[in-house]
């Protein structure tokens, strides 16, 4: 199903942007209301439900012991998967994952991985044989724009919420001590900030309406110290160098505020 946006909606939103306004009264650097809960799924070792406006994502983590990849025998595995369930939006269809689902999972994965959120080396149990594999599952429950920021925020919170059983090696055996649950080895915190370029202006946290008419989109993943760990561009039109530099410096300010939403520990 292709969604067609009426020309006059496009024009009215673009004209508002040129006057420095947005159709939902937000400033260009304002997020919609964010809410974040952790530990919402009992059956998962870590979970989070994040809402940005009406966008809603459920994130769960599932640790499992498995074999490491042969090229990285002494590090654990982090795997991200996303599911755009048909209930979330009229154009989400059942069946094999579509482009957006793959992009979302990859961008989230990139942000977590490149930021070094997890100390994967500490997840190795027996080098080359057994490591912890962390599966991160994103379930999009409601789609109202800006999935990426919500997904990264939710993933970060879910990872911080995750507890795995302590393991030790005795002879040839791996002993899993489910009595003693330890948090994952977290090194860094990273979050993502998405900008939409509409009518020459860059606005943060595009709503569904804005996402459907945007010229270009850029998502910037950033660590706590303000260094960049991931970037993704979308949309049909280009971005200038100036715009990207501006977006990065705005991200530095915005992610600082976003970090406040993460659980403190």
């Amino acid at each position: 199903m292709v969604i067609i946006i009426p020309e006059i909606i496009k024009e009215s939103v673009t004209n508002l942007m040129k006057n420095g306004e947005r159709s939902d009264d937000r400033g260009f650097d304002d997020y919609r209301e964010i809410s974040l809960e952790t530990g919402v799924i009992k059956k998962a070792e870590g979970s989070a439900r994040v809402k940005i406006g009406n966008t809603q994502i459920m994130v769960g983590t599932k640790p499992q012991i498995g074999e490491p990849f042969s090229d990285t025998p002494n590090v654990g595995v982090l795997m991200t998967n996303s599911e755009l369930i048909p209930m979330a939006a009229p154009d989400f269809e059942p069946g094999p994952p579509d482009e957006r689902s793959v992009e979302l999972a990859r961008v989230t994965d990139r942000c977590m991985r490149e930021a070094g959120v997890l100390d994967l080396e500490k997840l190795a149990i027996v080098e080359g044989e057994k490591v912890w594999m962390i599966f991160l599952d994103l379930h999009i429950l409601d789609y109202d724009g800006n999935l990426m920021d919500a997904a990264v925020l939710g993933s970060m919170a879910a990872i911080m919420d995750t507890k795995i059983p302590e393991t030790r090696v005795e002879g040839d055996e791996i002993i899993i001590d489910r009595e003693k649950m330890i948090p994952l080895p977290i090194k860094e915190k990273a979050l993502m900030c998405t900008f939409a370029k509409i009518g020459g202006e860059l606005v943060v946290d595009p709503s569904l309406e804005e996402e459907q008419i945007l010229d270009a989109r850029i998502s910037i993943g950033m660590r706590e110290d303000g260094s960049i760990c991931a970037m993704q561009k979308g949309g049909m039109k280009p971005l200038t160098k100036d715009e990207i530099i501006k977006a990065v410096s705005r991200t530095q300010k915005i992610t600082k505020n976003l970090m406040e939403h993460l659980p403190h520990n």
Partner: protein, 248 residues
């Protein structure tokens, strides 16, 4: 025997009355009792009981005026989205007559039109037409989507509600029976109208709405609150079934 009052909120399965009453829209009969099949407000007219749903999808009806968006151009017709489970078609012959012209030069994908439902056949193929006063393509303005059942409430008795919005915001407002509203005026006024219309949709099932809308309009426009006018004895309630549409 009737078990509920007029304008009471009911849920599916609620018993409304026994068989001395007639079963209207949104109700069904079981064991000689009339029950609700929807979540909505009861409307009792003489001996007929119907339930007006709180939320609904637009089901095309011949003679309605609707606002549609062009989604596709075909060999001799346009396809339109009319905010309904059924899509509409606008035959080229209706626009050009016998003349042969390029369809995409007249209306393109993404254009928004004000149309009349000419015919709905048994498989719900919706034929649309542009013949009539005020029908045609919209330029500029904004679109607001509301639930079709709330349209009569937005219009008000003889257009009282909608005329108040028009007068206060100096905007042109066109309401389609399919729940799409087009507003054009000063950008700030468009936003005021949008907020008011969304408020009406949210509170359409409550009484005393006209006064609240008036207060909200005055507040948003930064005007003095109207001096306490003698209160209307009864809230103006429109005939929800036959809300009249407004054509510019």
């Amino acid at each position: 025997m009737i078990f509920i009052e007029d304008k009471e909120m009911v849920i599916p399965g609620d018993v409304l009355a026994d068989d001395e009453y007639h079963s209207g829209r949104g109700t069904f009969k079981e064991d000689g009792k009339i029950c609700s099949s929807l979540v909505g407000l009861v409307a009792v007219r003489d001996k007929k009981i119907s339930v007006i749903p709180l939320q609904s999808k637009y089901i095309p009806k011949r003679g309605d005026v609707v606002i549609g968006e062009i989604t596709d151009i075909r060999f001799s017709m346009w396809n339109l989205d009319i905010n309904s489970p059924y899509s509409g078609i606008l035959p080229a012959s209706d626009v050009f007559g016998k003349e042969k012209r390029d369809l995409n030069r007249t209306f393109d994908v993404g254009d928004v039109l004000f149309l009349r439902v000419v015919d709905v056949d048994e498989v719900k193929k919706v034929k649309l037409g542009l013949k009539g006063r005020g029908l045609g393509k919209f330029r500029d303005g904004i679109l607001i989507y509301i639930t079709p059942t709330k349209v009569p409430r937005l219009i008000g008795k003889k257009g009282s509600m909608i005329n108040m919005i028009k007068d206060e915001t100096k905007c042109e407002v066109v309401v389609g029976q399919n729940g799409v509203v087009w507003v054009k005026g000063e950008p700030t006024m468009e936003r005021v109208a949008e907020k008011v219309i969304n408020m009406i949709e949210e509170q359409a099932h409550t009484s005393g709405l006209t006064d609240r809308v008036r207060n909200m309009l005055f507040e948003l426009l930064g005007k003095e609150k109207p001096s306490e006018e003698p209160k209307e004895d009864e809230e103006q309630e429109e005939d929800v079934e036959n809300g009249e549409e407004l054509i510019q």
